[in-house]
């Protein structure tokens, strides 16, 4: 199956290797990966900040670049939710609404695409040790992603999945929230880090690099040994 890959700006700029891990995982799942080299962002940061005119320009750019009738696989649930749920508000009463409707049906986050569309649970990945999976609010509340990443993780050889208490508690990132309300953002981030630390597990996996980078930047200041991996990173191990 030929698919279009979407690399969130966070991965593009801060952790490009995860983008290649996405390619590796999708190719292993039998996909032919196409990446539009003009691609930039889905517009989410501006949308959340209330900058809808700016968001619309960037989102229109994305809609103009998509290939018709091809699945669009995102390396994050935030972008998936933006396209699936928020484009609806952004493009109301606009000619782009039809284009959005077409894309909406074909947009998937990585774990959704593997589990729900391709029906693949085991890719043959290998990892030795325990990991915690951190749900993201955009995934859990925005897209209903809960079982899919866990199914994938449980199938990884040598991996033991440890569940966190209060899984639905926000990590505090919230896009511009971490800039407008950095006190609360850091407070919530620390709470999340503390429940992670209490499990004794050193590796945190999530579907979104945005939440991970928030926790990582707090953890780094505390010189903690925690490792933060994107779902694609861990799935690419041993492939």
């Amino acid at each position: 199956m030929k698919i279009d890959l979407f690399i969130p700006c966070f991965i593009d700029q801060f952790n490009p290797q995860t983008g290649f891990n996405m390619v590796k995982v999708l190719e292993k799942a039998g996909c032919q990966v196409n990446y539009n080299i003009e691609q930039t962002c889905c517009g989410l940061p501006a949308f959340n900040a209330g900058q809808w005119n700016e968001a619309r320009q960037v989102s229109e750019k994305l809609l103009n670049e998509i290939t018709p009738d091809r699945n669009f696989v995102c390396a994050g649930s935030a972008c998936t939710g933006m396209i699936r749920n928020s484009y609806d508000l952004l493009f109301q009463n606009s000619s782009y609404h039809n284009k959005f409707r077409q894309l909406q049906k074909r947009t998937f986050e990585l774990s959704e695409f593997l589990i729900d569309v391709l029906k693949i649970e085991n890719l043959g990945s290998k990892f030795s040790g325990k990991v915690v999976f951190m749900d993201t609010c955009t995934g859990l509340n925005g897209c209903g992603i809960k079982a899919q990443p866990r199914k994938l993780l449980e199938q990884i050889e040598g991996l033991e999945l440890v569940e966190l208490p209060n899984q639905d508690e926000c990590c505090g990132f919230g896009g511009t929230f971490s800039v407008t309300n950095s006190d609360i953002a850091i407070h919530l981030g620390n709470k999340k880090l503390n429940v992670i630390k209490e499990t004794g597990v050193q590796t945190v996996v999530s579907t979104d690099y945005s939440c991970l980078i928030h926790l990582k930047s707090i953890a780094e200041k505390q010189e903690s040994n925690l490792k933060f991996l994107h779902l694609a990173d861990i799935l690419a191990m041993g492939l």
Partner: protein, 457 residues
């Protein structure tokens, strides 16, 4: 200090108060458990919520008509309606009623709108004897505080703190159990009810088709407040309308389930003016309809859904912001996620923009709203409306101009890392927070690496 500075200062203080957070978290957990149990009464909860959403949508779209209907039907029964566009108008009208009746003793029951218009402070300042008859509100009033949460006003207080207060106020003994404290307060209140000249209550719903007022409560104090006093004043926001009596069963059960985790609250009254042949009831039945910014929310076509709120307070207890900063930090009459929508809309998008910003947009609130308000998106719309009103700061303008320039062109986004890191730092470093390592943009973006590998430069 501006409302925004006050907010950030209060937040800093609350975040250090771990004891308060622990107590709030415990109250939230207890609340959520009870709500889940109470919701089992609905054979099809989604249908119930959709229906409630639709009824409130119809109310919002036809509020002008329903309000007039309500007034006409209430007047026909001998009641009176006072329209108050501001809190000052409402308070002045209340003072006139007090003076006209030469009232000395006033009893009042729990109501968010009394807090909104500053009723307690006003009446006390005028020197009248005012008794707050709701247990929770009686306690926060005793501490000279504002309610912590709309439904559970004293959720932040410990049993010991309350016991000490009651010991000073009404001389209860120390070291007694909660039910004994409640009993003492009840005995104290009874005498107040009997003496009352005026009873002031809020309303949960106003029925347009028959001019009746619906009140849901657990303590019976609302019924008593309106039973003995010769004058019953009801203060209600214009958003409290329901079209017909038929709608009440759905809304009573949704309100008590989501608000208190009960299938139905203990006392549910549907009251109106006394009929001629009736012995009991107030001689005067006056409903004060308060606008106070609600019509400016109504004027915004894609935001008026916020007026559908039935004030159950369920969104507060799932909110990561509310449960960590507490109700008092907001510095507004309505708090939590719904307050973050309605306060800026009613009282100034720019003055209260810190409330519109006080959300991580985690979306948990949307799932617990009985009338399915799209809460997290309304919060974002508040931010949008404030920007569209021209209230962006120069720094924000510059940041988003730069962002858009970069995101509209891959060429800009693939510029040298030193330029990108410099720009990124300039724009966000101070706001990012000193307790966080500032993230560094990688030497080459995924896009650049892909182009190098597969071509297309």
């Amino acid at each position: 200090m501006s409302a925004e500075q006050n907010f950030h200062q209060a937040v800093k203080k609350s975040l250090q108060n771990t004891e308060l957070q622990t107590r709030t978290a415990a109250a939230a957990a207890k609340h959520q458990f009870a709500v889940a149990e109470a919701l089992k009464q609905f054979a099809d909860l989604e249908l119930a919520r959709n229906r409630a959403k639709y009824i409130k949508w119809r109310v919002n779209e036809n509020l002008d008509k329903y309000l007039i209907d309500f007034e006409a039907n209430l007047m026909r029964k001998g009641g009176k309606v006072i329209w108050a566009d501001t809190p000052q108008t409402a308070l002045a009208e209340i003072e006139q009623i007090i003076k006209k009746n030469q009232a000395k003793h006033i009893v009042k029951s729990k109501s968010s709108i009394c807090n909104e218009i500053g009723l307690n402070e006003f009446i006390k300042a005028k020197g009248y004897d005012l008794t707050e008859t709701d247990l929770g509100d009686f306690i926060v009033d005793g501490f000279n505080e504002k309610p912590f949460h709309g439904i559970l006003p004293a959720a932040h207080k410990t049993k010991e703190e309350i016991n000490n207060l009651l010991n000073q106020k009404i001389s209860t003994s120390l070291d007694i159990e909660l039910n004994e404290m409640t009993k003492d307060v009840r005995d104290y209140m009874r005498s107040k009810f009997f003496k009352a000249d005026i009873g002031i209550t809020g309303a949960n719903f106003l029925i347009a088709e028959n001019g009746m007022v619906c009140i849901s409560e657990n303590e019976g104090n609302v019924r008593l407040a309106s039973a003995f006093a010769k004058t019953h004043i009801i203060i209600a926001g214009i958003d409290k309308i329901l079209p017909t009596l038929q709608d009440v069963d759905l809304f009573f059960s949704l309100l008590s389930s989501y608000g208190n985790g009960q299938r139905l609250m203990a006392y549910n009254s549907i009251v109106g003016p006394k009929n001629l042949e009736e012995q009991d009831g107030a001689n005067e039945f006056i409903v004060i309809l308060v606008d106070n910014g609600r019509s400016s929310t109504l004027a915004s076509h894609d935001q008026r859904e916020a007026l559908s709120c039935i004030k159950c307070g369920a969104c507060h207890f799932v909110c990561p912001v509310f449960t960590n900063i507490g109700g008092h930090s907001y510095g507004s009459s309505y708090t939590g996620p719904i307050g973050s929508i309605t306060e800026p809309l009613a009282h100034g998008l720019n003055e209260y923009k810190h409330l519109s910003n006080a959300s991580t947009n985690c979306g948990k609130c949307n799932d617990v709203c009985p009338v399915k308000i799209d809460i997290s998106n309304h919060i974002i719309r508040n931010r949008r409306d404030n920007i569209n009103a021209g209230n962006e700061t120069t720094g924000e303008k510059l940041a988003w101009y730069t962002w858009t320039k970069a995101m509209l062109s891959r060429k800009n986004l693939n510029r040298s890392t030193s330029i990108k890191n410099f720009t990124f730092r300039q724009l966000y470093k101070t706001a990012w927070g000193a307790e966080k390592e500032f993230p560094k943009i990688e030497e080459k973006s995924f896009n650049q690496l892909w182009r190098e590998k597969f071509g297309g430069v």
